[in-house]
Amino acid sequence: MAILRMTAAALASVGLIGVIATPAGAKVEGDTIVLGAAVSKSGKYSTNGKHTINGYNLAVERLNAMGGVSVGGKKYKLKIIYYDDESRGARGAQLAERLINQDKVKYMLGPYSSGLTKAIVPVTEKYKIPMVEANGASRSLFTKGYKYLFAVLSTSEQYLASAIALAAEKAKEQGRKPSSLRVALAFENDPFSQDVRAGVIDDAKRYGMKIVVDGRLPRDLSDMKGILQKVKLVKPDILVVSGHSKGAALAIRQIAALRVNVPMLAMTHCDSAQIIKKYGKKAEYTLCASQWAPTLSYKDKVFGSAADFAKTFEDKYGYAPPYQAAESAAAVLVYADAFQRANAFDTGKVRAALAATQMQTFYGNVKFDPSGKNIVKPMVLFQIQDGQYKVVAPTKWASSKIRHPMPGWDKR
């Protein structure tokens, strides 16, 4: 018991030091502009939270090394105050209050995931604090009339819509009508995946395709063999899967295990599930939706091209940047640009400047519609070819031709 009490005391004192050590920030301290963010350092989003923080930090470092942001003829450095939201919405909202009320932060960066963004937006809206976010894609974030929310990424319903278009294109090449295609869906039952599903269904309907399997995976899914068995029996022309990293990992593993033959397989979260590294040949031919790719030809003055960003990031952190890191870095660039154009620190003016953003970053073009979502950056579609991600759609950015259809398992 004594040991327990001592440990508790030690823990408490560490906590205290933590509190004392956090700077009592203000919107601008001397020559530093202070941004605030609650990001998941622990809990179920901690991996992607790390990518988010690395992206933010890299952009801040780079901007500061280039002299910082000039406002009113003076150069300002950027700094970010982070708190750990523990991957919990309630904690995220609490920390947003704390950033705004105690640390006096006037400019927020987003957390990781749609769920946490949803939890924090009401707070930032209440205090009229602008928030530029890079990791909340759910379209329900942009239907509530939020005024201070800006998102640099493509929204969720666009994630896999290009896969349907691609399937239709391929069908035409083979002399089949797109409306003759049969689509199988396997989506997790969470807001993000269901948004993706809605987008896919809209597109499939537009081409007159028939949905033959519409599987919903429970949130605590650990087995999707039931749905895959059905896919195996029904033999659709395209299978679309979305269920975060877990869904992607399970799908690849079990499609191979069950030897399910389907001409086209499209999914989200391939790279965060590291399916190439984990499954090698089994992952071949899979189509993966991505916000960004290092091979795209976007450029900006801070990082250079998309490929330059990828190199800078890898040199610093020792791993290739997933798109979560790239879009996070882009959010900081958007802020820097807005400060310079606003030429003031007034949140109203910064918000107006954000709303008028029209720029190209290494991550893609950025222009916000009145609801705050970026409307000029398309999603890209990778295909895994010989153990590498190759961009195959949309055609404008494609670096490789799609390999279609997927060969059957007896030929692989």
């Binding site: 179920k44 039931g226 749905i227 295990a257 069950l258």
Partner: protein, 318 residues
């Protein structure tokens, strides 16, 4: 729903596939349920940490199969693990989990053995949260699989399709049966097993006969953790694991124990395999989202049936 039934009727091979799959995953559930039944029966504790022990075992399999480097820069220590076949974890995981189970018993469980069930549920629930957070911070929050190249056995090809059986699931089934047999033998014929049963029947009398009940409890609890560790290895070789997904295994184990009854090893095996198969077929017919509802509904039916039967017997006696 009806179209799904029709689909199965037209594809008997598909139905067989489902049943095989279910039986094999049920075997893993059975392993976890043995342990739960054992702890429940002997110590009167409903152990809610089953799932976390499973996940822990899964992580051990993951680290057994993968390559990694352990580094402490301060003293220049650098150890590289080359990675071996995940099946080796079937030996390693129960050993590690046995130790963990023993430590947990010595720290917490022995304090609650004689308390009411509510206390033990709260305590083990607390331990499960602690373990989740521990695994989350030590093993990261990634979804993890133990890679292996055991492949699929295309057993029976017909015009209607093929029977695709994952080899690792066959291993899981065999393992569950062997461990079940071993456990039954251990409890019935060995000295240690007999002392466990003695303590379960009457702890006080057992103490009077010179059995160290506390040690028996520790051994039982550690054995349970080891069983979960074995199950965890098989889970991470067939499905995916994550520090926070242990609960579903606890719930399944609980149901199997309820259906089979305490102290009934054969019952646990049959209930585990049966539940697995029923669950898979039900999932196919009524959809994955209702899978858990189906399992819970089944539990309700079993309990109702039992109470009705019991009431009838009473009537007959009266």
């Amino acid at each position: 729903m009806f179209e799904n039934i029709q689909l199965l009727a037209e594809n008997p091979v598909g139905l067989l596939n489902l049943i095989f799959d279910g039986i094999m995953i049920g075997a893993v559930f059975a392993l976890i349920a043995y342990g739960m039944a054992l702890v429940w029966g002997v110590m009167n504790i409903i152990n809610l940490t089953q799932g976390e022990y499973v996940i822990f075992g899964g992580f051990i399999a993951f680290y057994t199969a993968g390559q990694w480097t352990f580094r402490i820069d301060a003293i220049g220590l650098s150890l590289t693990w080359p990675g071996v076949h995940a099946l080796w974890a079937l030996l390693l995981a129960p050993a590690v989990l046995y130790v963990i189970g023993w430590v947990v018993y010595r720290l917490v469980i022995f304090r609650i053995v004689d308390r009411d069930m509510f206390t033990s549920i709260l305590a083990t629930f607390g331990i499960s949260i602690l373990l989740q957070q521990f695994m989350n911070s030590v093993f990261t929050a990634d979804d993890v699989i133990a890679p292996h190249n055991m492949g699929t056995w295309s057993a029976w090809r017909t015009d209607m399709g093929e029977l695709a059986i994952e080899r690792v699931r066959v291993v899981a089934l065999a393992f569950a049966l062997v461990v079940g047999g071993f456990l039954a033998f251990y409890l019935k014929y060995t000295r240690d097993g007999q002392s466990i049963r003695a303590v379960a029947q009457n702890a006080r009398a057992a103490r009077l006969m010179g059995i160290d009940a506390n040690r028996v409890y520790a051994r039982t609890y550690a054995l349970n953790a080891a069983l979960c560790g074995v199950a965890g290895v098989l889970v991470s070789m067939t499905l995916t694991i994550h520090a926070f997904t242990g609960l579903i295994y606890t719930v399944r184990a609980f149901m199997i124990v309820i259906i089979a009854g305490l102290g009934n090893v054969t019952g646990v095996i049959v209930a585990g395999l049966g539940l697995g198969a029923a669950e898979k077929v039900a999932e196919f017919v009524i959809g994955t989202s209702y899978q858990v509802a189906f399992v819970t509904g089944l539990l309700l039916v079993v309990l109702l049936y039992r109470s009705v039967r019991l009431a009838m017997q009473r009537k007959y006696l009266a």
